[in-house]
Amino acid sequence: MSPPQQPSSTNPNSLKIRLTHRFLHNLNNLNKKRSNLDNTQIHRRSHRVKLAAYASMARVVGSRRAWSRAILWKIRNRKVFTRNKRVDHKTTHHHHLARSIKRRTTNHSNHKREYVDPNGNSGQEVKLRKLVPGVETMDACGLLDETADYIKCLATQVEVMRNLVDLYSTI
């Protein structure tokens, strides 16, 4: 499968196509890596699929956007962490470890997650900053910009996934 291109335009059709490519690619990798049992590890699989979805989204957009950069950074750290996790062979403790390590090695743009902004930001802005990755330290203007791009990509991703689900559900 060809890697997705990085065109400058964010034409929704091209974005969709690219997203589809990338997402399927990631899904394939995911499915090839491990053969999870359907019932027991549904959560993990769904979580992985979700991660794959976000990763594909971020990869398609690239480093142009703050949120994509944040997502990629997060995934990279998570990957590193999961590698460590596998080495440690721990299961339940992983989550705590994951969170703690994640907090320590957290993204420099995300380390203010619990930071309440006294700059007069409304509660809504704070909520938005929590929702959109990578916009913690941005001003209101950039925040809205990133939010718009994030919404666009999210909507496209949702559409792609829905189409896939519909496709697969016909099987």
Partner: protein
């Protein structure tokens, strides 16, 4: 003075009317004599006595001219004072007196020559050289009559002189304002309105003052009188006008604005986007920057309104933000749900990767169900294991039956396991209307076919 010497004989007259009035007395006396030839001696004495005793009262014996003479005597007294100082052209004034009796009548100073003038038409005879000894006096008297007129005319003359000047200035200012109007017409409409108001003010200013020079005053007036919001505009215009005069052209607007910004207020150019202060708004640097920021934010909010469905009627930043937050949350939940679905639905995608990819791209491009119908057939061969079996069985039966989608999905959820069931059902409940219907619609189409 000759007159004095002439009338030294009549001491009382001199004493009454001053030094230079001897001539007048003599004229009056002669007039009296001339008016009343029959009463030469008695009227003379009576006139004298009347003149001496009551210069103001009109003697019944004396005709109207006598009364006039009495009044005129007073005026003569005044005239004497003025005559010494003033110089009057006799001919013109006499002529004036002849022609315009009333106008001369208004000015008391004109009375003495009026004596001559009135006497002239009334008596039908003009003693051309009533005082041949002193034509200078006549001249002075005549001039004095004109002097008053001149004085009055002086005042009136000032206005004609001033008016052209002010008119000229007004015209110039109007010219400039028209020029500025021309310039401003090239600008946006808002600026045109601003210039119009500016022109109104500029016209009022020369009317009020009317004494300043053109270019400097324009800026000066503008700087003085025009308020804050128009200051930048007028400064820009002034600099524009200057440049027009200098003959420098195009692309000076940015420079102008920059210059005016720097001249108007010491604001460091924060952005490289030059902002013009709008009419009626503060030109404080902080407020300008804030306004720029607010405009940016509102622009982005508008863009977001287009992205988020169902936000066209919503106005206001707070409500809009709420909607955006809700939408982002819903999208993220959808991703989660769909990922879960995908995780369960397609354990085996490697077989049909290319086909799925190609078909899915088609589907995503066209988003129609016809292709999926074509796809559905080959997929039936690859049935899912485990939970997929009832699903495939259902799907096989799908084209034949037209069951409600809820039942179909409900069965599928049952087969997918308890964990999934709750999740799926909650996912269904959580799902927004459109997404749910979207899946239902596509599924329904597939089932029917």
């Amino acid at each position: 003075m000759e007159k004095d010497g002439f009338f030294n004989n009549e001491g009382n007259w001199n004493s009454i009317f001053g030094m230079g009035m001897g001539m007048e007395m003599e004229s009056q006396v002669s007039e009296l004599n001339w008016d009343n030839p029959m009463d030469q001696s008695d009227p003379f004495e009576s006139a004298l006595s009347s003149i001496v005793s009551s210069p103001v009262n009109s003697h019944p014996g004396i005709p109207n001219s006598g009364g006039e003479n009495v009044v005129l005597k007073e005026l003569v007294g005044r005239l004497g004072i003025i005559c010494n100082s003033g110089e009057i052209s006799p001919q013109s004034c006499i002529g004036k007196n002849n022609s315009t009796n009333t106008s001369c009548y208004n000015t008391p100073l004109n009375s003495p020559p009026k004596i001559h003038g009135n006497s002239i038409p009334r008596n039908h005879q003009l003693p051309p050289a009533l005082f041949p000894a002193d034509p200078g006096f006549v001249e002075r008297a005549a001039r004095l009559s004109c002097f008053g007129m001149k004085e009055s005319a002086f005042k009136t003359a000032e206005f004609p002189i001033a008016i052209p000047a002010s008119d000229k200035k007004l015209d110039d200012s109007m010219e400039e304002s028209s020029l500025s109007e021309q310039i401003s017409n090239g600008e946006t409409g808002i600026k045109g309105q601003i210039t119009y108001s500016n022109d109104r003010k500029r016209k009022a200013i020369p009317k009020g003052k009317g004494k300043e020079s053109q270019s400097s005053t324009l800026s000066a007036k503008v700087n003085k009188t025009v308020g804050g919001p128009e200051k930048e505009v007028s400064d820009a215009k002034r600099s524009k006008l200057d440049e027009e005069r200098n003959g420098i052209g195009k692309e000076k607007e940015e420079g102008n604005q920059k210059q005016t910004k720097e001249n108007a207020k010491p604001e460091p150019p924060k952005d490289y986007i030059h902002v013009r202060a709008r009419r009626g708004q503060a030109t404080d640097s902080h407020s300008l920057a804030e306004r720029v920021r607010r405009e940016k934010i509102s622009e982005r909010m508008k863009f977001l309104q287009d992205l988020v469905p169902g936000c066209n009627k919503v106005t206001g930043k707070a409500v809009m933000l709420d909607e955006i937050i809700t939408y982002v949350q819903s999208l993220q939940k959808q991703v989660e749900f769909l990922s879960m679905k995908l995780a369960t639905i397609n354990p085996r995608t490697d077989m049909n990767m290319e086909a799925v990819l190609s078909k899915d791209t088609q589907a995503s491009m066209l988003n129609t169900m016809n292709h999926l119908d074509a796809l559905a057939q080959p997929f039936y061969a690859t049935a899912h294991d485990g939970p997929g079996n009832p699903l495939t069985a259902m799907m096989h039966c799908g084209p034949n039956m037209k069951s409600s989608q809820i039942d179909g999905f409900g069965e599928a959820s049952l087969f997918w396991g308890n964990d999934l069931q709750s999740v799926v059902q909650t996912g269904f409940s959580q799902n927004q209307g459109p997404s749910f219907h979207g899946t239902m619609g596509t599924g329904q189409m597939k089932v029917e076919l």
